[in-house]
Symmetry: C2
Subunit: 230 residues, 2 copies
């Protein structure tokens, strides 16, 4: 049965941008499972699967609804053990959590700073007031002022990615010879920025950018199929 | 056959302190393999196994000599597949490399700053000039001046460990329910500091310190058996 993925979008349904939804989408593609996306805006989330979660992604897989990208990956690994593994064993499952926490703590705050105003501008009319008020409360300043800090922080952000960059000098993917869910965790963060904002997070000759472009091409170009923001 | 581990020491053979040797020692214990340590000082390394490596750990396992802690763990995993796994599968093997790069890049530079003068004071007479000149060349200042920066950097160091701290809120070990080589990678860094220096890297109520104390107790207290520097 086709799995449904509630996938965050703004005004344009063809521009899904959520990092966490991208993780889930890449996980579904990795498993080779048939899925359809249901474009979902922030204010629709409360109605998704009877209010299962305050956030997306959420998937509906037969009689199961699952929220949270990591929980979705764990569900898919357990429900479809004969499909390609997302974790490469129990150790990979445990350490993917470390990759997730590292990505969330090291990458997401700066990327938020760099692109939140662009994401604001992607919202439809109904979501504009919600997005502004919720994000300004969280960030403690006007959205117009948040991104002013991005140029000053870019060098430190790039330096903070050195553990990833160094790992990619040993192996082509975080997962080793081929990608695993850990790769999609980091991919989600960079795809979030790519779809939302023209701001360049990485130098083109950065090994991380080379790895990211390889990930964009996976599964018939699933990631590359959504255009970069111009 | 008993495996030999060339284990870095200073003046006192009973105080092995190298982070990388601790990783290898914990890996040997995890596999439940019989091993003996050969206390080795810096200037002895050139003679270890006919100059196999510029660094220790080195192990001699039957007809194989292996250098580098990660390579040693890979060797043990391959040579003793029926013993408890150090990686929990191929994914864990790949992601342990990320944990290693993260530890090396995030933890080792500050720990070096904090304890290098203590390590200098642990050297025997023959190694004192070597240690001072090689480390001062690397660090660009007198050893007496390096540690002056440690108090100013301590807060940022503790904050930089947040991805590890956050992971430990999900699971008791980096390896999940029980420790894997990834845990010993981080353990090695903290044990290096514990054996060498009285300087407190972590708050006692930091979940990372709680995890570290659990690691000290593993394998009959292998880590705890070497006293903390007073």
């Amino acid at each position: 049965m086709t799995i449904l993925l509630y996938d965050l979008v703004g005004r344009d349904e063809k521009l899904p941008y959520s990092p966490h939804c991208w993780k889930a989408k890449m996980a579904l593609a990795h498993k080779g499972l048939a899925f359809e996306t249901l474009p979902t805006r922030f204010l629709d989330i409360a109605q998704v699967e009877n209010g299962l979660s305050k956030t997306v992604p959420v998937i509906r897989d037969g009689d199961r609804a699952v929220a949270d990208s990591f929980a979705i990956a764990l569900h898919l690994e357990g429900a479809y053990p004969d499909r390609p593994t997302l974790f490469g064993g129990e150790g990979g499952k445990a350490m993917a959590r470390f990759v997730e926490r590292w990505t969330q703590i090291t990458m997401h705050p700066f990327i938020t700073t760099a692109i939140v105003f662009d994401i604001f501008q992607m919202q439809d009319e109904r979501n504009v007031p919600y997005f502004r008020s919720s994000r300004e409360a969280r960030l403690g300043k006007r959205l117009e002022d948040v991104s002013a800090a991005r140029d000053a922080g870019l060098g430190a952000f790039r330096a903070s990615l050195e553990p990833l960059r160094s790992t990619l000098s040993y192996q082509p993917y975080l997962g080793g010879h081929s990608p695993l869910f850990a790769d999609y965790i980091v991919f989600g963060a960079l795809q979030w920025a790519r779809v939302s904002s023209p701001y360049s997070l990485l130098d083109h000759d950065d090994p991380i950018d080379e790895w990211f472009r390889r990930c964009l091409g996976l599964f018939g170009g699933l990631g590359a199929g959504v255009p970069a923001a111009a």
